[in-house]
């Protein structure tokens, strides 16, 4: 009588990779709802196009590499990548923008390295950065703040949004210049260059500035924060990276703000504008590309936060999240070498 040969342990926990990935998508839902509410249907079209393209490219890559199609397509990682990229690009982007981004993310950043789990760089961040440096114009046309508000009939309808996205057909009543505008961070950066002080800038354009930060952006960030807390609760991520990242931004911003309140953006605006919550809870935490140990993750978070602050404040790009994450990605293997936890018995050990 011969039985099966299997290595111990013979019990396995209930968690699976795809469950794990889809929890990230659930975590994103509050943010997606808030963004759609404030910025319109374009958010959803972006995500839909990105997800479709991601699955398509993923399938092709898997096919070329002769890997089991269904197993990997269902793992959910491509969906996460695409959703994040879809949320990170301007809302009324033409259809090819997310497609190019997703191509870079899935094919170049992920499958050239062997697909799920092997990529050293965050695919979504790569996709975003490639788009940003290749198509800066398209990437700075954010839906205008004066257009903000609930999705209502006199704004762009779903059909009209599709027209803009797929056919480049802008309704006669408006124009792309009217619809879009620099993002609040971008605007702030531009105005600061002119030597204005922050409070004046914020007051000057009530259309753009909301309760305590960029109109709409603040609430999207808060919704994402809740999604992030859900993920921590569900143990999808640990607190180290988000806390390290947001904490270091607050710390740096507070110091600079304390030194010169006129020219420095206050910490509250910093952490509620741009992609900060998306970055801190969903992008920097990508387990594949961040550090392995908890100490490493804390360092990773602090590094990402500091770099974000530096790039935002002194660099050429209005929001440095994606760059900061990539820069930390490329440091992660090195950080891992120094942050091996002390094992049981090492302190007392003779080794």
């Amino acid at each position: 009588m011969a039985f099966q040969m299997i290595a111990a342990p013979h019990l396995r926990g209930p968690n699976t990779t795809s469950k794990y990935m889809f929890k990230v998508v659930y975590g994103l839902i509050p943010g997606i709802i808030a963004a759609t509410y404030f910025f319109g249907w374009g958010v959803l079209t972006n995500i839909a196009i990105a997800v479709t393209a991601a699955l398509f490219f993923e399938a092709i890559a898997l096919k070329l590499r002769r890997h089991a199609l269904q197993k990997y397509l269902c793992d959910g990682s491509a969906v996460v990548t695409a959703t994040l990229l879809g949320m990170a690009i301007p809302q009324l982007s033409a259809w090819w923008v997310p497609v190019v981004g997703v191509f870079m993310a899935i094919v170049i950043a992920k499958h050239l390295y062997g697909g799920l789990g092997y990529n050293p760089f965050n695919p979504a961040a790569i996709g975003y950065v490639v788009l940003l440096i290749s198509f800066p114009k398209e990437m700075s046309q954010w839906v205008s703040p004066d257009w903000l508000g609930p999705v209502s009939p006199d704004k762009l309808s779903f059909a009209q949004t599709l027209g803009v996205v797929f056919l480049d057909k802008i309704p006669d009543t408006t124009s792309l210049d009217l619809l879009t505008h620099a993002s609040p961070l971008d605007y702030l950066k531009g105005q600061l260059k002119l030597g204005l002080d922050v409070s004046a800038i914020v007051k000057s354009d009530p259309e753009m500035w909301g309760t305590f930060s960029g109109k709409g952006w603040e609430w999207v960030n808060i919704a994402l924060l809740f999604g992030g807390i859900y993920m921590i609760w569900k143990k999808v991520i640990t607190w180290h990276i988000p806390v390290g990242m947001i904490g270091s931004i607050i710390a740096l911003a507070s110091i600079v703000y304390a030194i010169s309140p006129e020219t420095a953006v206050n910490p509250l605006i910093h952490i509620t504008s741009g992609g900060i919550m998306l970055g801190a809870f969903f992008i920097a935490t990508d387990p594949v590309t961040s550090c392995a140990s908890t100490k490493g993750r804390l360092i990773f978070g602090i590094g990402a936060g500091s770099l974000t602050y530096i790039i935002r404040t002194w660099g050429g790009y209005p929001d440095g999240i994606a760059f900061a994450v990539l820069l930390m990605n490329l440091s992660a293997p090195y950080i891992d070498r120094f942050t091996v936890p002390t094992i049981y018995g090492a302190k007392t050990g003779a080794k």
Binding site: S134, P136, K137, L176, A182, G190, K193, G316
Partner: protein, 212 residues
């Protein structure tokens, strides 16, 4: 031991003497051409804004240089080439920079006729974002040609702005900072020229360093 050292030394000397000889010979043979080339570049770019039959002096040497120039709003060297026909000043070509570009200073060549109208503007170098701010480059866009013939009277000084700021000059869609910086710098230069046109043309030329 000494012998070994000396042979090594002699051999090396031999080869380097031969090598250097070769290079020195090439240098001698090409130096004229190279000098002409180097001058040619300057002449060409000046020629872009100022046709060479408009003047008859040796414009490349008729120049004044400032280490920095507060009136032009830059901390870097500024050079002014002067074009004259006979003794009458025809135009000045000012190499200056717009410090407030998106990616740092934008180096500009601004030709101003003696009557205060713009003979032409060219971007010499810049670090603006490709695809967004780089339309100031004549190879990418004709935008800089808009300035031809403009002066402080046309448009009026308060209209020397991009449209978004209430002026007359186009901005690029999605990029206002770059054109804003360029327009501002040109305007400053025109103002400077208007206020100092006499001294600009009367100052003696720098002694030009003619190195081989």
């Amino acid at each position: 031991m000494i012998k070994q050292m000396i042979t090594a030394s002699l051999l090396l000397t031999l080869y380097s003497v031969v090598g250097t000889g070769l290079v020195a010979y090439t240098s001698a043979a090409t130096s004229e051409q190279i000098k002409a080339n180097e001058k040619g570049v300057l002449v060409n770019s000046i020629g872009e804004v100022l046709p060479s039959d408009n003047y008859d002096n040796e414009i490349t040497t008729d120049k004044i240089t400032f280490a920095d120039h507060a009136a032009l709003g830059t901390a870097n060297p500024v050079t002014i080439y002067r074009a004259r026909k006979g003794d009458t000043p025809v135009a000045a070509v000012i190499i200056t920079e717009a410090p407030e570009g998106y990616g740092g200073a934008i180096k500009l060549l601004i030709g101003i006729n003696s009557d205060g109208t713009l003979a032409g503007v060219r971007t010499i170098s810049h670090a603006e974002t490709p695809g967004l701010g780089d339309k100031i480059d004549i190879n990418k866009d004709d935008w800089v040609k808009d300035f031809d013939g403009k002066s402080l009277n046309d448009p009026k000084p308060e209209e020397w702005k991009v449209k978004k700021d209430g002026g007359v000059f186009d901005q690029f869609s999605g990029a206002t900072i770059t054109p804003r910086a360029v327009v501002k710098s040109i305007r400053t230069t025109l103002v400077y020229f208007k206020n100092n046109s006499d001294s600009i043309f009367s100052k003696p030329s720098d002694t030009v360093n003619t190195k081989s």
